[in-house]
Symmetry: C2
Subunit: 274 residues, 2 copies
């Protein structure tokens, strides 16, 4: 039984929380990564009950973030929404709240400024998260998303931003899809050590699908050496969940139980030792 | 008259070498960046005569590279082809030969190995380039091309690879499209100093076009602060050509003279001081 493997519910995008929970139980998985929108559909209390009743652990809640707005009403709304996300992560006893920090504001070309505002927003949110026992997990995004989704582009940059805070308050996500290309990633993972809040796996496939938001592949379908990254995070001391989060139109069109079965197979073949 | 502005002929993709040379003269440009394929169509000697007769300088020749193959016939062919490219750059008196180093070999997931083989190939080519007075210009490619086009992903990584060689033998390309997202780019450009062989500008546009090889935009159409990068390379000591290289289906469909006129306008507005 794959004790560390976790199904991020985006991988089986058409499943509701209850269906994803049931799918995990059928597949003998012990962890699940949840998204806020499907959780809201049933209510946080009910979703928490579903996972608890099934004996599952919530390896992550996606997602907080989108914190690059200039000071003003939009930024205030973002901070409020992130506080709600922290409350939800606490209610779900999630291992962490994944933070996708947001891209450049409309019309802005001030990348350094956007990055500074993310750091300020994290500082504003950290005490709230700490009080509720929630770890914020800064997710470096692949640089192709820098303009429109996430101005945190490398693991080192995320660690620099996390550094002022205790590791159990602000950690980082190591998602192979986002960081596999980075020539400094080995050193950065070693540096991350106890700040690794989440380890996510999915593959980089070519040619890149037309919609780059749906360009992630099942492990083994692309170019990433997953065992290498699993060994790196383990050497850094990480022994938590290994979560599979795949945005891909073909995978979303397939039968979710088949996707979970394939995920388990590829996890054994490609992520664990051969 | 924009003395430093150079038209990379890819920006006016349908023009032959002679047409691009004539277009530069009409627009009062003094430099051109050439590609090997159109140069081969007329022959290197003839192409060299065209640019000399027009009083133009060749700011770059694109491209050498594709050096990630394992030892064997494919790698031997790549080395031979790069020697020919060096000869062509010498015949054209090009300021540099741009090196796009290549992606992972078919089926390989050994990124570190591919990067090591590039370093070995550069060591094999450097003496040949030095004898002919040609500067090899290592081009870090945007990480979205890491798997299939260029395993050099950051300017720092390119500088590490260039370090064993004299700056006039192995330099680097600073192309805003490829490096704008990098949180370490300011320090890397300062570090690059006299190794900056070429400074190329084009914009990062969103949403990313479906064909990511054609996803570059005219300056001002996207998210990059060009003045910031021009100041950085100048502060590092670079005073050479500022070359505009745009792969974009809409720009390729437009009248090339109109594209050159727009390029001059945007260069003045977006790259130079306002």
């Amino acid at each position: 039984m794959p004790q560390r493997l976790s199904l991020n519910q985006k991988t089986t995008n058409r499943w509701s929380v209850q269906e994803a929970v049931d799918g995990c139980v059928r597949a003998e998985l012990t962890s699940i990564g949840l998204w806020r929108e499907p959780v809201h559909e049933v209510g946080v209390t009910q979703a928490a009950r579903m996972v608890t009743d099934a004996g599952l652990r919530v390896s992550s809640l996606c997602r907080g973030g989108f914190l690059t707005a200039e000071p003003g009403p939009e930024r205030d709304r973002a901070i409020d929404d992130n506080r709600r996300a922290i409350d939800e992560a606490a209610a779900l006893s999630a291992d962490c709240l994944v933070m996708v920090v947001g891209g450049l504001p409309e019309g802005s070309r001030d990348l350094a400024g956007a990055r500074d505002r993310v750091a300020e927003a994290i500082a504003a949110l950290a005490p709230y998260a700490e009080e509720r026992g929630v770890q914020l997990a800064l997710e470096p995004m692949h640089p192709m998303y820098c303009a429109d989704r996430g101005v945190l582009s490398t693991l080192d940059q995320s660690l620099d931003m996390a550094e002022p805070f205790a590791p159990d308050v602000v950690g980082v996500v190591v998602d192979t899809f986002h960081v596999w290309w980075d020539p400094a990633v080995e050193a950065a993972i070693a540096r991350a050590a106890e700040r690794i809040a989440s380890f996510q796996v999915c593959d980089w496939i070519t040619p890149l699908p037309a919609d780059t938001l749906l360009s992630r592949g099942m492990m083994g379908d692309g170019h990433i050496d997953f065992r290498h990254f699993r060994r790196l995070v383990e050497a850094a001391g990480y022994d938590g969940a290994i979560e599979v989060e795949i945005f891909n139109a073909d995978i979303w069109a397939a039968d979710p139980d088949d996707v979970v079965a394939l995920m388990k197979k590829r996890y054994a073949e490609r992520v664990l030792e051969p």
